[in-house]
Symmetry: C2
Subunit: 395 residues, 2 copies
């Protein structure tokens, strides 16, 4: 029998630099924030779904499930590590959600942690590249700024937009997300770059043409945690459960196998449609979106594949203000990956953190009249894609 | 509603050296063997549960779910990577089993792949050490031979057995498992070390006292795959479904947190008891066991914690022949990790492979009259522990 599923407490560390904490210690900080607002006992938690991308490389640390369980006082319970690159904790979240929905567990902990800032840019860049096809893409010299620079060029060509014009349009994603990130006390760029201008983005250091430094998200240390349970369990414990209405997941092979499709992000379209179908919703029912803006162009193609704008119209939309907090469909009002930071394995459940806080009216720095939110997390060059729909309404 | 779950086809590559294949290519080889004996269509497979431990380090390859789905013709379906060190594909298997049992999916693919032989011993040893506590254990200079040498010494002390006497007793594990490994055409040591003697083990190169080279399993490349589905789905397609009767999973923190308990392998006791309870069985109902013999002493403590022998009696048991193929409870008649090889992420579902083949009477090189089998996979120093019970009987 399928049960309704709800989010209880959520937690997130400050994103940025945490050189003095191990991954389990960092995760514990996020966990205890989530735990403190869940009104449950430790023993209520039956399993841990943990997302981490490259702990082996950054911290020499794999097999983290058991160490995390032990760290937070839950020694011995089943503890899983999920890895789907930048979508690691989103894959964990969907699996945990399905487990609660279908009666495997009543209450579980989901989350993630990553320490890419502390690893430094050279190690971090190589570590991130493991999310690409190692045999063909990485051996050709491709890393992620290159992937999204290719996608930006393909976007310009496909929709017949002059490249310089496109650069200006997508720069608005950076301006927007830095504006909100500067307002968010938990963001890596809190109080920084809040009045960034389009010209600042265009004139910042070129990373991989046409993308400049401000088109890119930063390297980040951080952790996030979410406690989920059956809706009935949640209702007995807290006043404002947020309900998980649907989740989708899809996958793809390398860029060379996706060919021209890559600009349409087809795995995302498939994943989002799976989530909408399960929720009985359409994109019109969504009030706010937290999408995977690892680069400015990434947010644009995400808003299209998720059905908010027609293909080729996403870049216009941000320029016209449609994805700003007061626009038609606010996108990343917490700063997104660009303004808030991107601790890879923690990013998915950090999106859930922001969505839940916003829906509860608990994001002090920004208020949006929203009842339903969607999250979107991309792993690699579409190898892993997860969408989650959250709502204040149970049905 | 809970459904019975069955195994359809199983596949395993030859274990050993596969320098010319990527991890997805290696996994595909195991998959197609499993697929060919499952009598299903590709489109029947709804999700992929994939275990891999350190692809980031050995092959620069993470985020493998999508690449694997694409490689075997299943582009776009949800594809997960599970990591729980040496138990990675066993964690994947248990999660997949629960998903089918509880109605999330009807038919899924589980498996794993790893390339530690090709990585070479220095990289391989460092990669394996990521399964330990990175902050305290590894920084103290500990790697896995050290962990199990400590456990062997603790075993000798706890049960008051002179260390030289213990060395002789546990050497029988190596003799036994090399005997069966030498008979197994898919084993890394096929046709090698089949007539190893206790003296050969004692006199081989000292790795970490009291453990010598022949007390250790090798570094291995390999992959394994298992297709599971509801029992009703399986019965419609094949003659001899093997039923998954129960599964358990547990966890622990670092050695320093487990203290003296480590010699009793308490997470394994908890995990095995979870599996027995679910299956409605006791250790007496098990006819054959495939346990995690990464070192000779590891097999001994496994057979105790799983309930086959009293604590302190496991070393006597192998010396007395009780765990040989014609003994009371045959252990690792496929050669185990020591004789067959240990491609970490593939090891768990390779145990399932051997168990299913043996229960079907399809292991040509060894016949054991068995109706029920248990597998046992250990990740790290008890950080992750998984047991699975398989039977020819549905209930």
């Amino acid at each position: 029998m399928e049960r309704d599923v709800a989010v209880l407490g959520v937690g997130q560390t400050k994103f940025g630099s945490h050189p003095d904490k191990t991954l389990p210690e960092l995760f514990a900080e996020a966990f205890f924030e989530a735990f403190d607002s869940s009104n449950i006992e430790l023993r209520d938690i039956e399993a841990i779904y943990f997302g981490n991308f490259v702990g082996e490389i950054t911290d020499g640390a794999a097999n983290l499930g058991g160490f995390i369980a032990d760290e937070i006082g839950l020694r011995g319970i089943p503890a899983y590590r999920f890895e789907g690159a930048c979508a690691s904790s989103s894959v964990a979240f969907r699996d945990a959600y399905l487990a609660v929905k279908h009666g495997i567990y009543d209450c579980v902990l989901v989350g993630g942690a990553e320490k890419l800032y502390s690893a430094g840019t050279p190690i971090g860049t190589r570590a991130l590249a493991t999310a690409l096809d190692s045999a063909y893409e990485v051996n050709s010299g491709l890393t992620f700024p290159g992937v999204f620079a290719l996608i930006a060029r393909l976007y310009a060509k496909t929709y017949d937009i002059p490249l310089e014009k496109l650069r200006e349009k997508i720069a608005h994603v950076s301006v927007k997300n830095h504006k909100y990130g500067a307002m968010n006390p938990k963001a890596q760029f809190y109080n920084k770059f809040g009045d960034l201008k389009v010209e600042d983005v265009l004139n910042s250091r070129m990373i991989c043409s046409p993308l400049t430094l401000f088109d890119c998200c930063p390297m980040t240390d951080g952790a996030s945690a979410v406690i989920i349970a059956t809706a009935d369990f949640a209702k007995d414990r807290i006043d404002e459960p947020i309900y998980v209405r649907g989740a989708g997941q899809s996958s793809a092979g390398s860029l060379f196998r996706q060919k021209w499709d890559v600009v349409k992000a087809l795995p995302r379209k498939r994943s989002a449609e799976m989530a909408y179908r399960e929720a009985g919703m359409t994109p019109k029912d969504i009030d706010v979106a937290f999408v995977h803006d690892c680069f400015t162009i990434a947010e644009v193609i995400a808003t299209e594949a998720m059905g908010f704008f027609e293909y080729g119209k996403g870049a216009d939309a941000v320029e016209e203000g449609l994805t700003w907090a007061d626009g038609e469909i606010p996108v990343n009002p917490d700063g997104g990956l660009i303004g808030k930071g991107h601790p890879v394995g923690a990013t998915g459940t950090a999106q859930i953190y922001s969505a839940v806080k916003l829906l509860r009216g608990e994001l002090d720095f920004i208020k949006i009249d929203a009842e339903t939110a969607i999250t979107d997390t991309l792993g690699g060059d579409f190898g892993t894609l997860v969408n989650v729909i959250l709502s204040v309404h149970r049905r």
